[in-house]
Symmetry: C3
Subunit: 164 residues, 3 copies
């Protein structure tokens, strides 16, 4: 247990790592919240054929949504939510992975906080842009900002640790 | 190489981290197994149009499955497997990320083991609920249990390290 | 700040971790590049109905692509790109997670480099196999090689740290 204590003390002392842990937890929680929102919309708006048993209802819904789609709103909602969720996965996975390596590469605390705060802000904005939904280029811009922050962290990581 | 040894020794001493590593490896392996199962079903049940070249076969399958869908079972199987896999990604990514931060935040070994064991059990149950498939609320319940465990770990992380 | 310095020095000394950080950053960047490529194809080839507002255009595209699909190429492109991206997520997430645990389990540097290099090479090949696209079994083989490398690392992790 001495090893465990040493480890936790060491990390409690490391402010950059604490900042990373805080923001990584926040964006992962935001991604998890997206699951709940998607599930809520699936239930209340009756979108998503996959939750239904193989009955006539299911086929009717399937035809309405996937094939004829006279109610375009429904299709739009369904796809925007599932894509918003996938977009979270695509962007938050690199942030969590590269961010960890970045936090361990010894950056300045202020620089690290700047990266983490901008990324987290951009992703929260991106989520709102999906849910409301905001018109382009709001969504595209918030995506690009998060993307650029991750690239900047990756550059610092590779500059510091490169060993091919 | 002295740094490497120090590192590995330190981690070998840290029982909470060892527990995390064990369960993280298990759930990631489970997720990888899902790839194999999905691939197996795609091949044996001829679901998933994307594997076919752009021939008449592909179009026939596409029509059968996506448009007319007289064989509801096939559609159900196809969608349930791909969604099961995506559900794994959605839930195992936050567990692996938040779980690492949790393991490094110095929890009691018994508490940590409880979290890891319940999450891993819930996800394995969830996979069976998809594959068999079990009726609701089995799937929903196993999903909710894993979700709650991850939330509990995130709460501990944020309480310990919070630095905004 | 002494804790932070100690941490970063320690990691700079740990060559296995540096190798892990390098290759993890590379595959995560590759996955991010896939986002850009997918977005580029969506814009230039007019695939992906979800980007359009709910107009007649959207419905026409939807019918063309999802329902009638007389232009099989379009469907093929759309689906292959989104699936290529999802395949990245499915495979790179386990690599980043298990690879971190592996790097911390104290492997030989040469063995670790071998694992990281083969995985990264296989995933880059896999991406080209999707984009060009190369015929099977090129894609399947590159997937299987990356899969086997991750399994091998998971075996080493579980052998070293197992604590159930």
């Amino acid at each position: 247990r001495s090893g465990e204590m040493a480890k936790s003390t060491q990390l409690a002392d490391n402010e950059v790592f604490r900042a990373y842990a805080t923001y990584a937890a926040i964006v992962l929680l935001k991604m998890m919240l997206m699951s709940l929102i998607t599930a809520y919309y699936r239930m209340t708006r009756k979108v998503g054929i996959w939750e239904y048993s193989c009955s006539e209802d299911a086929e009717k819904i399937m035809r309405l949504e996937v094939v004829y789609s006279t109610e375009c709103n429904t299709v739009k909602n369904f796809s925007s939510f599932s894509r918003g969720h996938l977009n979270d996965l695509e962007n938050i996975v690199p942030f969590v992975g590269i961010g960890l390596l970045y936090a361990l590469s010894g950056p300045e605390l202020s620089t690290a906080l700047l990266h983490f705060r901008i990324f987290t802000g951009a992703r929260i904005l991106h989520t709102f842009a999906y849910l409301i939904p905001l018109p382009q280029p709001g969504r595209g811009l918030s995506w690009a900002v998060g993307y650029a922050v991750t690239l900047s962290m990756a550059y610092k990581v590779l500059k510091t640790v490169l060993l091919l």
